[in-house]
């Protein structure tokens, strides 16, 4: 049984204490009436370019990202690097589509993607589909952030059985729940600043120190087995790892900003210009993610998995222990505390934003739409605060009592489901051409097909599509998106033809999408 690493633990707790204070103090930052949903749930839409950079960066580069990407590199090698093309592709999308969404949401007071779809297409059922997809896709993601905290706490040596082992996680959850309740989105925004600074320091230090200790990049890559250091060249009649890699990158890029927590972080910016500027500067995080994937390979080269000191950790957490083990091996205890705190705090930021996003969705698009059509501002904000708490509690219970495997599989499915909202949300930002019921049918087809494909591939992301003797392994999400679009496109003229002369309902005007 490993011993507690006291120095690291003290540093960890101190940093955690700092951000706890910060989370509560944030309520007074850029002061606003937190009994209004857009103040609690979107920080009053006041975050400028720099804060948005920290918030969006901290939101999309989650603790799970920092544990799971190196873990994938450690386990599967070069294919984990798909995270780099993935993050290269998201920024043109952010640049082109989201300022338009920001403008129309600002003009009409929309807080969620479902609000926008409701206004644009005038169909409450399509909006409900968007809402439910958003909520269901986000919940396992929250659970996985708590998993990130579990791994680093375990790596600090704080283990035990039963309740004692779960206590640090419960405390972290308690802190998170409390400051999210009181400060809303301002809490993770302020903490993201601390977290991102720590993560950059940690990553750049690792990327410099470890190669120095291991004798240079050349030596490191020479130690990685040939099958893992590059993508496997596809055999005959298959596009093999090449199509898997490219479709994983493209599909993940298309899906990312459709997640409610991405939408929330982006809508909290103070203008479309802040978003565009961020599209150029957020790639700093992509670079860091690429470095992290390589760090997963360092773990292979350093032979850490074979060292007895870390055997317990690898047994407990599998490849997710790759980065914690490397950090424990190379760095002095106090820096270990800093890195682990960065990862744990890195879980709280997205977990907070994700729970706020889910709360916004429920409050606006389920409760206000179907239950109480005229809430007061205070009622709305209060409902959101409670829902955010419930979402986090649900995630905590899930992580404590359900095998981790399920959370990971649900998150994979979540990616396939959320991409089905692309036609209504992203294409809807450009055109009203699609018929609302056709979009709903496309969504249903894509969601069903995607779930079936995932099950057929035993809950792995890629599906081996076979056409005429050739195999095209690819990301199920991307294939089903194509199906979704085709169905929506075919049904649109059909459904429109059934009710000729009926003008499309649209609460928005073309000018609403452009900057004032």
């Amino acid at each position: 049984m490993p011993e507690i690493n006291w120095t690291a633990l003290v540093v960890f707790v101190l940093l955690f204490g700092l951000i706890t204070w910060l989370g509560f103090a944030a309520a007074r930052w850029r002061k606003g009436d937190l009994d209004q949903l857009h103040e609690w749930g979107l920080g009053g839409r006041r975050f400028g370019t720099v804060v948005t950079w920290f918030l969006v960066g901290g939101d999309i580069y989650t603790a799970y990202t920092f544990i799971a990407v190196p873990a994938l590199a450690f386990g599967a090698g070069a294919v984990a690097f798909f995270a780099v093309p993935y993050t290269i592709l998201i920024y043109p999308l952010l640049f082109l589509v989201f300022p338009r969404l920001w403008n129309v949401c600002h003009k009409h007071g929309y807080i969620t993607a479902a609000d926008f779809v409701r206004g644009r297409f005038g169909n409450r059922w399509l909006a409900l589909a968007i809402t439910i997809t958003g909520i269901v896709a986000t919940l396992p993601y929250i659970a996985l952030q708590l998993l990130g905290i579990q791994v680093v706490v375990g790596a600090l040596g704080v283990t035990g059985s039963g309740l004692a082992a779960d206590l640090p996680l419960v405390i972290a959850f308690g802190v998170l729940a409390a400051f999210t309740y009181s400060s809303g989105l301002r809490a993770p925004a302020s903490i993201a600043i601390v977290k991102d600074i720590l993560i950059y320091i940690a990553t750049f230090t690792i990327i410099i120190v470890v190669p120095l200790k291991l004798g240079g990049f050349g030596k490191i890559f020479a130690a990685v087995p040939a099958g893992k250091v590059l993508l496997a060249v596809p055999g005959d009649h298959t596009t093999g790892a090449y199509s898997a890699y490219a479709t994983l990158a493209l599909g993940s890029a298309l899906a990312l900003f459709l997640y409610p927590h991405s939408m929330t972080a982006i809508l909290s910016a103070n203008s479309g210009h802040a978003i565009r500027r961020n599209a150029a500067i957020l790639p700093g995080y992509s670079f860091m993610l690429g470095l992290l994937a390589m760090i997963g390979l360092f773990v292979i080269a350093a032979g850490i998995a074979d060292m007895p000191a870390y055997a317990h950790g690898f047994k407990q957490y599998g490849s997710n222990f790759a980065v914690p083990a490397l950090v424990l091996h190379i760095f002095p205890s106090w820096f270990v505390g800093v890195v682990f705190a960065a990862i744990a705090i890195g879980a709280l930021v997205p977990a907070a934003i994700m729970s706020i996003a889910v709360a916004n969705l429920y409050t606006r698009n389920i409760h206000r739409e179907f239950v109480n059509r005229n809430p007061t501002d205070k009622q709305e904000a209060q409902m959101a605060k409670w829902v955010s708490m419930i979402a986090k509690m649900g995630a905590l219970i899930f992580i404590l009592f359900v095998p981790t495997k399920f959370a990971i599989e649900l998150q994979l499915l979540g990616g396939i489901w959320i991409i089905q909202t692309l036609p209504a949300v992203m294409l809807g930002a450009y055109t009203r051409w699609f018929n609302d019921w056709a979009l709903l049918c496309g969504w249903a087809a894509g969601t069903t097909a995607g779930t079936l494909m995932a099950v057929a591939s035993k809950l792995t992301p890629t599906f081996a599509l076979t056409l005429g003797g050739h195999t095209f392994p690819g990301y199920s999400a991307l294939y089903t998106l194509v199906l979704n679009l085709v169905i929506a496109a075919i049904l649109t003229p059909l459904f429109n033809g059934m009710r000729p002369g009926r003008p499309p309902v649209d609460a928005t005007a073309p000018a609403d999408y452009l900057a004032e």
């Binding site: 690097f81 290269i88 592709l89 920024y91 990049f217 050349g218 590059l230």
Partner: protein, 67 residues
């Protein structure tokens, strides 16, 4: 008239984004070990370089379409 001209100017710059997509979505092009850079295989440094290049493209498009 001025607005239409602005819009047309913007379209050419957006081709940079198309280039970005095409290059990075073609793994056979960069799935190689050599040439290396400070010991890094081509596969890795090329994609990292492309992060910087695409950030630069975005910055260019931002400035060019600011109007």
């Amino acid at each position: 008239m001025k607005d239409a001209q602005k819009k047309e100017k913007a379209s050419w710059w957006y081709l940079l984004f198309v280039l970005q997509f095409l290059v990075i979505l073609w793994p056979p092009f960069y799935n190689k070990m050599t040439p290396t850079l400070i010991g890094l295989p081509f596969f890795y440094w090329f994609q990292l370089l492309w992060v910087i290049v695409s950030a630069a493209f975005t910055a260019v498009v931002y400035w060019a379409t600011r109007g």
